[in-house]
């Protein structure tokens, strides 16, 4: 092995031979990125991939909002409109939000638990490099005869089986690959957190971001194979004459929805639990106060995760479920707001009588708490089974899940990037510009999504390319908000690229003077290899953001 390899196994070999040659940098050129097993490189790859996918899915959202700007059909055919809503959803969920969180996990988990690297670095490389191919395959369906998948990101049978375009088989293969990537990523996170922690770091010493990711990884392990099962059954229904979801052959289309949502509901928590973790790191830093109720945060996260597996059919109140089933799923669903409420109350109490300052990451974190909570309220309303009759499949639902996923998950990712980016690249972004960007985005996103509550209550169904005139005004407002919000990402791109290339250099290990955590004890920018010597118990306790040593 050459001295430029970066594999942990080789690290061990190198350690055995000599202690002089293991402080080497990355390989030069493009092969660095293709062959890399370094958690920081892979984290960077994940984050850039997610960002490109975010812009791609965002462009599709612009097409959707442009068509909905006015009643009538102006720009696209209904079939193409359906392809846009479908791929927008799939790309944002599987291409943007999930990979972005895995990228953050790759960068931060080893730094936060004092480990040299992820536990399985070679698999780490593999789980990233599947993604661009799966993403490309998914996008390539748009150019195929008959167009791409046009059945919504929930791909209900039989619209996605008997009545789907030929490209659906490519869609199925892409989902399988994305699932493989996620499962391998989750295995790596679990093995890293359980086995690679610095000696002496107990589970309850871990920062909350690590905790939420540990729980998320278990959700992934339990949910993604179910999705793989669902698309496998679709594949055999389409090509090998089985009738899992076809009533004419003894199957049941509603069974598809049960299987899909058994995956789908934990999936939404996969996208929000790491966001809880991010916010729980940022708020104590800028409140200059330890996180309130650390252990209750851990228990709340775990109970949200457990409950997420027993509430799936609240997406299916109108499928003809027996009344007892609807009651159970209603009660279980509204129960989730208890642990979720605990988390919100804990964040608010962390801020209470702190010494608050509003640097860019804090602005995004505060916006997260407020706007995610609004999404939580509409979620509670949707959980009431009889009321769901009027909300189900309307823009009220669209508004709800965009509040929890855009102003929830996406905002937390942006917050995390602004929080840790200076540590990663040793440069500070233009803070003034970043604040302008924040206000631009946070105002426009509300103009985009808040009127959609009204549209839904006024009776506009989701996934329609054209609407009656009574919905025209709010759609126009929403579209204008959408274009302005979409444009804000051009500024975000500039801020990040400008930071990496020309940003003011930062030398202090503790980029934010009030921040706590092992990641702030290493030099800035984070060297290619960190924690050759694991941190000691004293340091671990001193750097805990929740023990009161603040």
């Amino acid at each position: 092995m050459s001295t430029t390899t970066t594999d942990l196994q080789d690290e061990i070999d190198a350690l055995g031979k000599s202690h002089d040659n293991h402080h080497h940098g990355p390989e030069k050129g493009v092969m660095r990125w293709i062959k890399t097993t370094n958690h920081k490189d892979i984290g960077t790859l994940y984050l850039w991939f997610a960002f490109i996918m975010l812009l791609t899915g965002g462009a599709m959202a612009m097409v959707i909002r442009a068509e909905l700007f006015q009643p009538g059909l102006q720009l696209v055919e209904p079939q193409f409109f359906n392809q846009m809503t479908t791929l927008h959803g799939l790309i944002m969920v599987f291409g943007a939000i999930m990979p972005a969180f895995v990228g953050l996990a790759n960068w931060q988990i080893p730094l936060m638990i004092g480990a040299k690297d992820m536990a399985l670095p070679r698999m780490n490389n593999w789980s990233f490099w599947i993604l661009p191919f799966a993403g490309a395959m998914l996008l390539s369906t748009l150019f195929m005869k008959g167009g791409g998948p046009a059945f919504g990101w929930t791909f209900y049978a039989p619209l996605s089986t008997t009545f789907a375009p030929d490209s659906t088989d490519f869609f199925i293969f892409a989902i399988h690959m994305l699932g493989f990537s996620s499962i391998m990523g989750a295995i790596n996170v679990i093995a890293t957190i359980l086995n690679m922690r610095a000696p002496g770091m107990k589970l309850m010493d871990m920062p909350l971001f690590v905790w939420t990711w540990l729980i998320t990884a278990f959700l992934l392990i339990a949910a993604m194979p179910v999705l793989a099962g669902a698309v496998t059954m679709m594949l055999t229904d389409r090509n090998f004459g089985t009738s899992f979801f076809d009533a004419a052959g003894g199957g049941d289309p509603v069974m598809f929805q049960h299987i899909f949502w058994f995956f789908g509901h934990p999936e939404v928590y996969i996208m929000i639990l790491p966001a809880f973790g991010v916010v729980s790191q940022i708020i104590p830093t800028f409140a200059r106060k330890p996180l309130f109720g650390y252990s209750s945060m851990v228990y709340a996260t775990a109970s949200i995760a457990l409950l997420s597996f027993v509430v799936w059919a609240h997406h299916m109140f109108l499928t003809g479920m027996p009344v007892a089933g609807q009651m159970y799923f209603m009660y279980a669903t509204i129960m989730i707001s208890v642990p979720t409420g605990v988390k919100v109350f804990n964040w608010v109490t962390t801020m209470w009588r702190g010494s608050l300052s509003f640097e860019t990451p804090m602005l995004w974190a505060v916006a997260f708490v407020i706007l995610f909570t609004i999404g939580g309220f509409s979620g509670l309303m949707l959980g009431i089974a009889p009321a769901d009759i009027q909300y189900h499949d309307t823009y009220f639902v669209v508004a709800h899940f965009h509040y929890v996923l855009v102003t929830g998950a996406l905002f937390s990712i942006i917050a995390a990037v602004f929080y840790w980016l200076p540590k990663w690249c040793g440069r500070m972004y233009n803070q003034k510009l970043a604040k302008i960007h924040f206000w631009w985005a946070v105002i426009s996103v509300n103009i985009l999504f808040f009127p959609q509550h009204f549209l839904g209550l006024a009776g506009m169904p989701r996934r329609i390319p054209d609407y009656s005139l009574q919905f025209a005004d709010f759609n126009m407002i929403s579209s204008i908000g959408g274009f302005v919000f979409g444009a804000s990402f051009l500024l975000l791109t500039y801020i990040i690229v400008d930071c990496i290339r020309n940003g003011e250099r930062v030398k202090e290990p503790r980029v934010w003077p009030s921040a706590k955590g092992l990641e702030w004890t290493i030099p800035t920018p984070a060297p290619y290899h960190t924690f050759d010597k694991p941190p000691g118990k004293e340091l671990i306790l001193a750097e805990s953001s929740h023990t009161g040593a603040h």
Binding site: L15, L203, A230, I259
Partner: protein, 46 residues
């Protein structure tokens, strides 16, 4: 997890080896659970 007391007597290299061994075991168990869930999903619908 390796406790502080155990770690005190290990070299960097030995510590890493011990951690990696545990990690491989964890990963294997978790991967088997994932496969199990996949096949159970199919089996329960047959």
């Amino acid at each position: 997890m390796i406790s502080k007391e155990e770690a005190r007597f290990l070299s960097e290299e030995e510590l890493l080896k011990r951690q990696r061994k545990g990690a491989t075991l964890t990963a294997t168990i978790v991967a088997m659970i994932a496969f199990g869930i996949f096949f159970f999903t199919l089996y329960s619908n047959m």
